[in-house]
Symmetry: C2
Subunit: 362 residues, 2 copies
Amino acid sequence: LAVEALHWGEDRLRIIDQTRLPGEVAYLQLETLESVWQAIRRLQVRGAPAIGVCAAYGVLVGVQEKAPGTPGEVVTAVNDAADYLATSRPTAVNLTWALDRMRATVDESEAAGAPCETLLEGLEAEARAIDTENQALCEAIGREGAALVREGAGILTHCNTGSLATLASGTALAPLFHAHREGRHFQVFADETRPLLQGARLTAWELMQEGIDVTLICDNTAAQVMREGRVQLILVGADRIAANGDTANKIGTYSLAVLAKAHDVPFYVAAPYSTFDLALTSGDAIPIEQRDAAEVTEGFGCRTAPKGVPVYSPAFDVTPAHLITGFITERGILRPPYHEAIAALPPTAACEAPQPILESLK
Amino acid sequence: LAVEALHWGEDRLRIIDQTRLPGEVAYLQLETLESVWQAIRRLQVRGAPAIGVCAAYGVLVGVQEKAPGTPGEVVTAVNDAADYLATSRPTAVNLTWALDRMRATVDESEAAGAPCETLLEGLEAEARAIDTENQALCEAIGREGAALVREGAGILTHCNTGSLATLASGTALAPLFHAHREGRHFQVFADETRPLLQGARLTAWELMQEGIDVTLICDNTAAQVMREGRVQLILVGADRIAANGDTANKIGTYSLAVLAKAHDVPFYVAAPYSTFDLALTSGDAIPIEQRDAAEVTEGFGCRTAPKGVPVYSPAFDVTPAHLITGFITERGILRPPYHEAIAALPPTAACEAPQPILESLK
């Protein structure tokens, strides 16, 4: 991929500052534990998988800073770093999960009596493993979904689900990157995705970096583009998927699914197995978080609505399973009846990370 | 109405500067012909009916400035003012139409040998007539549509179609103002209406001024609000309506109509008879104007999309007649089959103004 949103090399962590996109591509060297904490806190790195990977490398940065001389000091440094990083975005489940893997690695080696150097090597190997597993998972989703992306097709997507959010080839964008590498030509319509404009700011930018033909549209224009016959496929990500296939994702996804049905356009959700929450029998059980009104009324540096106007701004909506043509997972494409297909999905090592519902692809 | 976007009194013209809403309610005294021209040009007054009414009074301002001493000088002053004002927004059909009425009035009186004072009185009477006819037309639409607005209902609207755009009670908002005056309580959901945010900037503001319960939503949230069962009626305006009922209106209207159908929500278009263009057999003949990409990529004072990104931004879309529950006109509510109902509509004196398709409710 043309965009490398995070790089670990020669014991150094570098990220693209996502808050300055698309105006500026600014790289940040995260040389202190505090700078890693700030980067996550300030959304300079965002998206559930990205936060997990960044935090794992962040533990290495924290350990380097302490320069521990004994195995016990290494363990303390890891736990201190993990405790601290966990406070950067407390509700991000991927963050806790990645940090716990780092703790477990060092605890295990230390208990086995390994020397300092082995502990440090083990920590770096674990961070790289988290990174690599995440990449493999996205690659697999891309491979499984690429066949849906036909030569000459128009593909509509919503929000941001690519290399910035995942530090890999993404979820809903992964099939596009894959098909592009295979030499297919197609046109992507990116919903700008109000209120935070992730589609305009991030998706359009990263598709352009890759040389993929992308056209930006306002969310209210998707229906018109479908009516004109210019969309043959809709690809979106997911925050959480219930056992029956009902899918919570960024607000506006449900609207697209209804419009897709009305225009006979296939509507696919791309997500790793970890996004399926078998404890939820249907989407009705998913709580809907409300976003801050200011994101709608003054999101761009100037006020664009009257002071005090009530705003209804749910962070996401739930698309009922019957509107979904299929789920693109790293284990293949699931087709209805979803209850059976989802129940039959075998968990994989790379898929143990639970996806947080409130934080994932913000 | 609480909002008086234009006031003519004691030979003076005053408007609300709509470009400063909703941040500030600033009144402008238009004391020179040039200030009237600038107000129309700079969208300080906008909306087809509003432009027509403002231009008619603007001719009076121009004549005052010249202080003509003979009937011939009055005619010259009127024609000079009209020629000049016509250049303020050349494609606004209502503008030309109103100016032509002012010219015809003075020409007729002058040809009949009327003295200066009579000519001036006739001009003021004609400007007031244009204003009053426009108000009567909006009131009639409000009266006809008010019965659709039930106690306790949720009503969703798009763009801005009220007192700012029409200098009267509006088109799609007129039934809401009417029902509110009758004491009914209801909740309005106002689509923010990307890219220019007329819903956020203007509709939310003017409903709040009137004391009507309004909630602002992003365009992509309309489907979710419908799914929650909170919308019992959708009211939109129209730019142009074909003889079969196909309706061109602000981009996003078609999307709402499809969503309304899927959620069994009645979808009404409110428009004066003059909006029906019987020369168009269907909506297919309506050309779709493209808006400037910058409205989408940097509409709020800062750039929110990558430089050079292609943007598809049609100004409006066409809603096919079969998705429309009814048309609220000043002559009553039209029901399917529309071809017959529209053909049977008798023209009225107040309805001769053609609605320009590219300018009307911008």
